[in-house]
Symmetry: C2
């Protein structure tokens, strides 16, 4: 925090920019002595916790109940759904002993909790009157990633929410997928994160799922990042775990189930990556620990009672208005404070010196545009309320405008190859053949991420890669 | 929930009462297939989450920052403080493999996080300007208990908060212990949980601590239950982990550290155990998911629009007043609803039938005293506000009055033996000899829990057990 130099440019070297920012703003510490595990420090914890709060509120409002399942899952549970265990067995951490003795049965650290939850659903669900059952938990999960790890983006322990929902009918399950999409869109919009809601290709589904829907954003280095997924599980889990209910006629049926997983760690990373600039983070109001930082600017050696009093009065006033306000009365010089709070992304800074006291005004600095304005004392509350909305709008629009500039229609193979390294999400006609997708990946490095679910896009003509008849329009990108 | 019979008497068989309540009110599920691990269901999760919120708010207000450390700790970290590892090595769960391969170093599931935190403190703390550093995290911890487990009371995974604080001076560390005591007292008081704040005997300290302070409540079966602890660690951890800071003169010193651990699972258990009666839970307003339940009471077969409308209007009004309100419009009969919400401990129930509509009034049932009263429509808000305070006062006073009736002064060995099985906390003159404490335990089953820290109690005369000169007045009880 002591160095005054700007970060390396985000555009030119995102990886270095990101790592430097996490470290120099004391957001996360990568030096914890287990590879792939990091320490979340207070300013990052606040962001993560705020994102949790936003999803938890929406989930509760839409009829979910919060629960907490054990961190450990018996290996025999994991093995009850064949595709599921195949998808995760290469990644699970296994507890084999406790108190110096070998356990009777090894326990997995949850990589996801279907196999912990479903045995309980089979006990809890008896009748159609028990449905729908909508549960979620906010926990960390564990996956032994073999690719290079990077804090929040790919880690061996990360924070997420997982819902586990059960319905009497297929239609309700499908409606829930829509509802999950509505919640995701609403929150990503409030956070100003641009995204595409996609239906994944059949070979790219969650292990065990009938359909997988996912929300992809784009990192500054041109890699698509999955930040939430929703899965239609049909009877794929309710059957092997023998979850059943009696319908009104007394028939025993299996419920249709879904699960939804907002990746809280990755959403926090997206906030940092999307809005940040070469001065540090640019935080939306809703996840900022210090929405307004007040900085007193005394003249050297002079009496500063009037400045201090004005700062205190303003802090009281703005706190009463419901803002999270912090007055930086430390002994650092104003320049050092400016640098620090810009790096930590506080949306507004208010500077109060002798000039401001004399003029019955304050200087407001907005982090997103890095612009100052003078506001008369009587107008402060009104102006801050306006600015909070303006900043949300401006950052969202800027993010979307960049994101849209990275979407490119491509209709022939040569063009796919030509722009493959440039970090675009391409939109193309696609034949729907798994082998074609594999070829695209092999030759261009791009992965087919699926088709839009928010709008209908009619296929026409031929697959941009192989020339076979197109069955859908898909989006492809380098994947994180 | 279908059975209409009351629970077994809490006084006569607390264990059965407790287990039956957790199961019949769907609070926790003990059938998860790993011994000592349970599933926390929605109504219990709400209580646990509310208690977390109360402590987190106080900790943040008193200068703590929330962080999140990894769940896993390298075994080599655990071994760096000799007493500490000795205290925990018989209890740790160990991850030995991941992704099908043996790990280079086995990882412990955190039994507590000192050995994860201190290596990072040694990187974060450099100068006296970095102090005090006050951190906390809200997590679950893992201990392979060999005694019989019981949900929330003794489990192999449980919810707690752990603070890790570092100070330049011994005095500040001791002040922090006082502050931890203030926070504990305040919250236990708000929850109506009676307790004794005690300094533990030297042989009963947290592994590695210089001093241990603990908050004990009493379960209905006469077992003392530790619900929070604070430890003065001196240099016991900062030295082996080489945490140091430069003071103003440039000398490198070790900080004095403390940790504080409110046992959130056990506090939730105490709320259930302390206030509950033979009809189920009796929840304080502050942790109740449904503070007010409205039950419409239609006459069979009759038009009930007026009742429904009155219920809806009242729900809106009370929600606007800030209460958590739920109208039970299910098809169950009123008697079944009464039973259910009494078991779940909602502090107030409002019954609305034709009589109430005609009389412009409602019937309010208060759970603590199980009493009904009629309140005119225009007085409802005022009366509920009064009742919320009255209920807090009544439940707290009832709990304290029972607790005090269980404290007994004892001055001779024969009396200790006589009342040992009766579930009292005894107050006695004590010689302070570890061997004497061991004898008391062996012969009477009582454990010396320590001396009061909230008041000065001057020793005089002889140890009530062995007759040696008394050095302090202590409290002893059967321990959970």
């Amino acid at each position: 925090m002591s160095s005054k130099k700007r970060l390396i440019s985000k555009e030119s070297d995102f990886g270095t920019w990101y790592d430097d920012l996490l470290s120099s703003a004391a957001l996360a510490d990568n030096r914890y002595n287990v590879k792939g595990f990091i320490v979340i420090r207070p300013d990052l914890f606040f962001i993560i916790n705020s994102v949790y709060g936003m999803f938890e509120k929406e989930l509760v409002d839409s009829g979910h109940d919060q629960v907490l399942f054990p961190t450990v899952i018996p290996m025999s549970n994991l093995r009850r759904e064949a595709e599921h265990v195949k998808g995760f067995e290469d990644q699970v951490f296994i507890v084999e002993s406790a108190g110096g003795e070998k356990l009777e049965e090894p326990l997995a650290l949850r990589p996801t909790s279907e196999t912990a939850v479903y045995p309980m659903l089979s006990l809890w669900i008896r009748s159609h009157r028990d449905l729908p059952m909508r549960l979620f938990q906010s926990v960390t999960v564990f996956r032994h990633e073999t690719k290079a790890t990077r804090p929040l983006l790919r880690a061996r322990e990360f924070s997420w929410i997982e819902t586990h929902d059960a319905f009497a009918t297929d239609k309700e399950a499908k409606d829930q997928v829509q509802e999950d999409a509505r919640i995701s869109s609403k929150i990503f919009d409030e956070l100003g994160i641009p995204f595409l809601p996609l239906q994944r290709e059949p070979d790219d589904r969650f292990p065990g799922a009938e359909e997988t829907f996912a929300y992809d954003t784009l990192l500054p280095d041109g890699h698509a990042l999955q930040i939430a997924t929703t899965h239609l599980l049909g009877h794929r889990f309710s059957k092997p775990f023998d979850v059943g209910f009696l319908d009104e006629k007394g028939n025993r049926l299996h419920p249709y189930t879904t699960c939804f997983g907002p990746g809280i760690s990755r959403i926090a990373a997206s906030i940092i990556a999307t809005h940040g600039d070469d001065y540090g983070m640019v935080l939306p109001f809703n996840v900022s620990r210090r929405q307004i930082v007040i900085v007193p600017i005394p003249k050297k050696g002079e009496e500063e009672v009037s400045i201090r009093e004005k700062c205190q009065a303003l802090e009281r006033q703005l706190k009463a208005n419901g803002y999270r306000v912090f007055t930086d009365s430390s002994e650092d010089r104003p320049g050092g404070k400016f640098y620090k709070w810009e790096q930590l992304g506080s949306p507004l800074r208010i500077e109060i010196g002798h000039r401001e006291v004399e003029q019955n005004a304050v200087t407001i600095f907005r982090r997103d545009l890095r612009e100052r304005e003078t506001v008369g004392d009587q107008d402060i509350s009104k102006r801050i309320s306006e600015l909070s909305k303006e900043i949300q709008k401006t950052t969202r629009e800027k993010a979307w405008s960049w994101f849209k500039s990275k979407l490119k229609d491509v209709s022939v193979r040569a063009d796919i190859l030509k722009i493959a390294k440039k970090g675009y999400i391409i939109r193309m006609q696609y034949c729907g053949q798994e082998e074609c997708g594999n070829d695209i990946k092999k030759d261009s490095g791009l992965e087919v991420r699926g088709k839009r679910i928010d709008i209908e896009e009619e296929p026409s003509g031929k697959c941009a890669w192989c020339g076979a008849p197109s069955v859908r329009i898909v989006y492809a990108a380098k994947s994180y």
